[in-house]
């Protein structure tokens, strides 16, 4: 995927995510032209920049925070939008994948890495819920439980 394609894909994902989160009222007002969706370019915060490594890859603290946010997200699309917000380079994606203990191959391109990260933080929970026929979020994320009742 070319850089231009990635930028457009990212923009569309962000717009789609925003539309999905709208209330019915907001949606009606958007369709009626009463409100608009604007794209605003923001300067990267100094804090974010400061925690990056020399090669512009993410620092450990930043990775930890990003992974935590991904793990709190319940939709793959939202996760992708979140990854896009960080304008991640391939080395950063590799660092994140390694941080969450996902196997990384030299053949992996950025798209594959993004997919692996999303599956390991969000996708596996969605799979589990779907197979169990659940639509709610009742996952126990504790590793301390000794025994779980089947009911």
């Amino acid at each position: 995927m070319s850089n231009a394609q990635e930028v457009v894909s990212s923009l569309l994902s962000q717009v789609a995510s925003l539309v999905k989160k709208m209330t019915d009222d907001e949606w009606k007002r958007l369709v009626a032209g009463e409100i608009t969706i604007d794209l605003v370019k923001r300067e990267e915060s100094k804090k974010t920049t400061a925690s990056r490594n020399k090669d512009n890859s993410l620092g450990e603290r930043e990775i930890k925070a990003l992974v935590s946010r991904l793990r709190a997200t319940d939709e793959r699309e939202e996760g992708l939008v979140l990854l896009d917000e960080f304008s991640l380079t391939k080395p950063s994606l590799e660092l994140i994948a390694r941080y969450i203990d996902v196997p990384v191959s030299q053949r992996d391109n950025m798209e594959t890495l993004r997919e692996k990260i999303i599956e390991a933080t969000i996708g596996y929970r969605l799979r589990s819920m779907a197979i169990q026929g659940r639509t709610d979020q009742h996952f126990s994320r504790s590793r301390d439980s000794v025994e779980t009742k089947a009911t």
Partner: protein, 311 residues
Amino acid sequence: MPIVSVINYKGGVGKTTTTANLAGELAWHGRKVLLVDLDPQASLTFSFIRPEEWLADFATSRTIKKWFDALSEGSDFPLSDLIFTPPRTNQRLGNRGGLDLLPSHLGLINVDLELATELGGATLRQSKRRYLKVHRRLAEGLAGLEHDRYDVILIDCPPNFNIVTKNAIVASDRILIPAKADYLSTLGIDYLQKNVSGLIEDFNEYAAVEDDSIVQKIDPAFLGVVFTMVQFYGGEPISTQRQFMNQTKTLGLPVFDSYIRENKSVFGDAPLYGVPVVLNAYSNPTHSNIVDELEGFVAEFESKLGMGARP
């Protein structure tokens, strides 16, 4: 006498190897173990009985299929009549504990069809009664064994959720899930959770409407997931498998700290000789490491099951 079902929806996950070695090590610790093979593939049975012996001495009248068939035909006989003590394993055990087996039959799959015909009824009440009767069949059979004859009963379940499997779950106090750390096997864990929950819900709802309240409600709990066929690199499971192990740990089910590693040269032909790997002494360090790991798994199993001090 705790009863533990060993099950995974996904086949080929090392379920039979896990069950046979768990039983062997528990018996080595002095415990009396009964293995019930409910899988029509009869792999556990053929781990202790040679197929030609099975055909000559067991197939017609000494398998769990015969017992289910007899019940359906109204000619009841006790499960204890079918119990077989595999000689090669028990010779290895010497004076320690003991390992017995209720053999399976390749035609056990037909029992599911037979049991299904016994369900239903003219009224809702009759249907519920029949449901309870059909699903409690194994539980009642096992309850008929002498109370102190065994310290633990392990049921090797087929990789499905048919009526025979449901009989195993209804009879069980705990459920052990052997799983490969890969995508499809971990999906099998979710299928199983869903179906066990559904079975408990249905069974207990039906049990509640019985006037005489003789039918006890069931509450089998997941003892845990044990990862099998684990491949190691640099002293730890390979990363492709680690990710599925880590994911399973966060989904709410208990997961054993111990693993059972992949080793075809050790596990591949062990059933041929009728003695579980864990009862063999190996001089080769790789092989003895496997035995150490199996021993670690069994110690964890005993602890999770609250089995108390070894005799």
